[in-house]
Each structure stands twice: as structure tokens, then as C-alpha cells.
Symmetry: C2
Subunit: 229 residues, 2 copies
DNA sequence: GCACCTGTTGCGCAGGTGTCCAACAGCGAT
DNA sequence: ATCGCTGTTGGACACCTGCGCAACAGGTGC
């Protein structure tokens, strides 16, 4: 194969590993799979990564960091505290994330047995919580809402979002994402002492707003996603 | 090895498979592991299970069904609708479930690639939802609470519980389970138009009640679990 | 022209995998 | 005593795994 500079080759290997991991699963990804996808030899992979675990961890870390960066950027693009929260929910539930969440799910399950992966997964989880907690702290400082425990609230809200994503991906439950957003926002409002519906206003993508309005139900004054019962 | 009647042997294989799955992970469980644990030959396993997938699915199904039975029994031991809901939350968050939830996590991740496992996991998930939904429906019929969409509410509450368990198991976040119960109950109260604190009353185990009271915070009138920020 | 460096190759090794199968052991029926 | 049935054995089969290593290639400095 064509010669590459070390950083390029390293990035290429990580990219190839990521593609394989996504549709074969982390546990089932092999060195030869990665090499074949690049059209190179398996030895080359080991020239850049001491062990298979290192490669898997590096690939997952890159994907996870990229996910976080997208959300962070979307949040920071907004100025008001409420708008920032809306942006957080919208990117977390964005449609393209189904395949990405399967990767997270794999990583969480695998984390119990792979220390490197666990360390990465824990670290990223904390970072995600910090982004949300900072949103909340800023809002509290600006007087937009009240929250006695921003870290705890961020943790609880994230748990809820992950639980919903779990249902969607693991159980293949079709979900109205706009409804998820507004429903989760309802919980967040309770956490932040916001009036009901305060977070359900106009969000980033126009479709989100429209669908949210359509999904609105009289019960508890907030929209609720359904699973086909 | 000693001769067994077919049902006995089948049960023994499933039990052995379960033990291996629990501390090696579903993906890493091999036929020889299972045979070794029983002290028999690998060929015997294949005499009872056509393929490895069949064995894994059968073992997971047994464990999952047992989990569900425990919760169902705890719920049906109570008579009042509110007491039944309390029992549901208490058994879902019971302490011994950490290792069990790791098995669920494995199954969910593996479900994407193993059709038999996915089918089982989906079916059990629906059953769990039905138990909770029936609790809600009974309560509505008895006039204990109001809920326009019992199936949807059950699904949302379960998503939340799974999300919290995910944080606890995958990220190794130590959780005050009693606080989780009361906090989740807070969400449930909103879903069911119950007054705040209605579900936080005396539950099955005495320790739960005591801890819940101790964890109660003035904010929003309900206890909230924290993660170490 | 040469030596050197480094990305790259292709294969070998030792081990582990699911699956299959011929042979064996114990027991009930004949 | 013999036959047949069935639970059980232990190993063969083909394949795949991560990893290591000797050899190669193509460019750079001398």
C-alpha cells in the first residue's frame, strides 16, 4: 500500500477500526478486519498499536470525543441559558446517532472486562456531565433557573437520556425524537424550577419544534414519547 | 460424569452457562468453558443445544425470566396500587442486581448481532413494561391515580430506571439506591398525577424507607441521588 | 555509488473457536 | 445373554485469533 506519514497512517488505522467496530461490534473486531479494510497487512497495524486493546480504546476515544465536540459546539453556538439547554437535548437525540449509540452500548458492556476501555468510557461520561452541569450553572448564575445541585441534576438528566436511547437502540423501539426531547425537557424543567414548557420552545432544527408542538398532549402539560404498546 | 435425565442435564448446562456468562461476559463464553464448569465434555453441550447461540439465548432467557418473576411476585404481594408501585421500584433497584444488570447490558449490546438474543431481550422488555403498565391501569381503575397513557408511562419510567442502572454498572458510579427509588418515584408521581411524596412512603424493606427519609431534600420536595461530581 | 532508515509485507507460530462424530457405558427389554 | 437405546466421551476438523519477525521497498544523506 501507498506509503503514509506516521500520523496519517495512525489516523487511517483508527478510522478503519471504527468502521469495523460499528458493524461487527467491538468484541468481534479483529486486527485482520482492520487491515483488510485498509487494504494493508495485519503486521502494519501492530507496528502502530502495541495491542488490540490499545487500538480499540484509541478508536472508541476518537469517536466519543468527536460526539462530545459536536454537542459542545452546538451548545456554545447559543447564547441564552435556556437556548443552550435546548441545543443540548436536540444534539443528544439527533437522528444520526443511532449507530453511534450502538458503539457506546458496546463499550459500556465491554468496559466491565477491558480496563482501558472502562477508563476511557468513565472519563468521557464525566466530561459530558460537566458540559451539561456548566450549562446549568451558567443559567443559575444568570438567574434563568434555580438548581441547588447542578452536578446531580446533570447526572440525573443524562441517565434519563441514556435510558431512552437504550430503549431505542437495544430494543429497536421506534421513537419520535422530537417527543423525546420535549418529554426529557419536562424532567429538566422540574430539576431547574422552570415553568412547564419553558424548554419546549423553538429549538435548533425547525422540524424539532413543529413535531414537538404536534406531539403535545394535555397530560401534565408536556409531550410524551410512546412505545407501540 | 454421572448420568442425568434430559431435563436435569439441560438445566445443569443452562446453569453452568449462566455462571460463566456472568463473570466472563456473554461474548467471551465458550462451549468448553461451560463443559469444564460442569466437569463434562464439550460434546455433551452440543447434544442438548444445536448451536452456541441457542445456549446463550436459553441461559439469558432463564435468568431474565427469573428476574421478572421476582419483581412480579413482590408486586403481587401488595394489595394497594401505591404499595404495588413502591414494591416495583424497590425490587428493580435491589442491591443484589448489580451482577444481573451486567448480564442485561451484555445482552443488549450483543442483541444487535445475535438475532435469537435480540428476540428474547425484546420479548422480556415488553413483559416488564406490561407488569408496570398493569400496576398503573389497576391504580387508575381504583381511582388511586390518573394516567391517560399507562403503556407510555410505563415505558418512560422503565427507560429512566434502566438509565440509572446503566450509570451505576457501566460507569461504576456508587449510588444511594434508596435515593434512586424516591427520585424515580418523583417522576412516576408526575406521570400519574400523584401528590409529591406519595410514592416515597413506607416501602417493603424497612431500610429503604429510613434511607429515603434521610435522603429527602427540600428541593422539589423529593430526594435526589448524587454522583460524585 | 553506497549505507541507512523506516514504513510495509507476508507468513509462521501457538493457541483457541464451534461443530461434528465414531466409539463407549450403562441400563431396560427381549 | 444379547440387543438396542441413549447419555456421554474425547478427540479430529477446519478455521480464526493476536502477535512476532525476517525480509523487502523506496526515499534520504553521504
Amino acid at each position: 500500500m501507498a506509503r503514509m506519514t506516521p500520523p496519517e497512517r495512525r489516523a487511517a488505522i483508527v478510522a478503519a477500526a471504527l468502521e469495523v467496530m460499528l458493524h461487527k461490534g467491538i468484541a468481534a473486531t479483529t486486527v485482520r478486519d482492520v487491515a483488510d479494510r485498509m487494504g494493508t497487512s495485519s503486521g502494519l497495524v501492530h507496528h502502530y498499536f502495541a495491542s488490540m486493546d490499545d487500538l480499540l480504546a484509541a478508536a472508541f476515544e476518537q469517536a466519543a470525543t468527536a460526539d462530545l465536540a459536536v454537542t459542545t459546539a452546538a451548545v456554545e453556538a447559543q447564547t441564552g441559558p435556556v437556548e443552550r439547554l435546548r441545543a443540548f437535548f436536540a444534539t443528544y437525540a439527533r437522528a444520526e446517532q443511532d449507530w453511534a449509540f450502538q458503539l457506546w452500548l458496546d463499550a459500556w458492556a465491554e468496559a466491565a472486562r477491558r480496563p482501558t476501555l472502562r477508563e476511557t468510557s468513565q472519563r468521557l461520561n464525566v466530561k459530558w456531565q460537566q458540559v451539561l452541569a456548566q450549562c446549568i450553572r451558567d443559567g443559575v448564575a444568570a438567574g434563568a433557573f434555580v438548581c441547588p445541585d447542578p452536578d446531580g441534576a446533570a447526572w440525573r438528566i443524562l441517565s434519563l437520556l441514556d435510558g431512552l436511547a437504550l430503549q431505542s437502540v437495544a430494543h429497536r423501539v421506534p421513537i419520535d425524537r422530537a417527543a423525546v426531547i420535549t418529554w426529557s425537557a419536562g424532567f429538566a424543567e422540574a430539576e431547574l424550577a422552570l415553568p412547564a414548557g419553558a424548554l419546549a420552545g423553538p429549538a435548533g432544527p425547525a422540524s424539532v419544534t413543529a413535531a414537538a408542538a404536534a406531539a403535545a398532549t394535555p397530560a401534565a402539560g408536556r409531550a410524551a414519547p410512546r412505545r407501540p404498546g
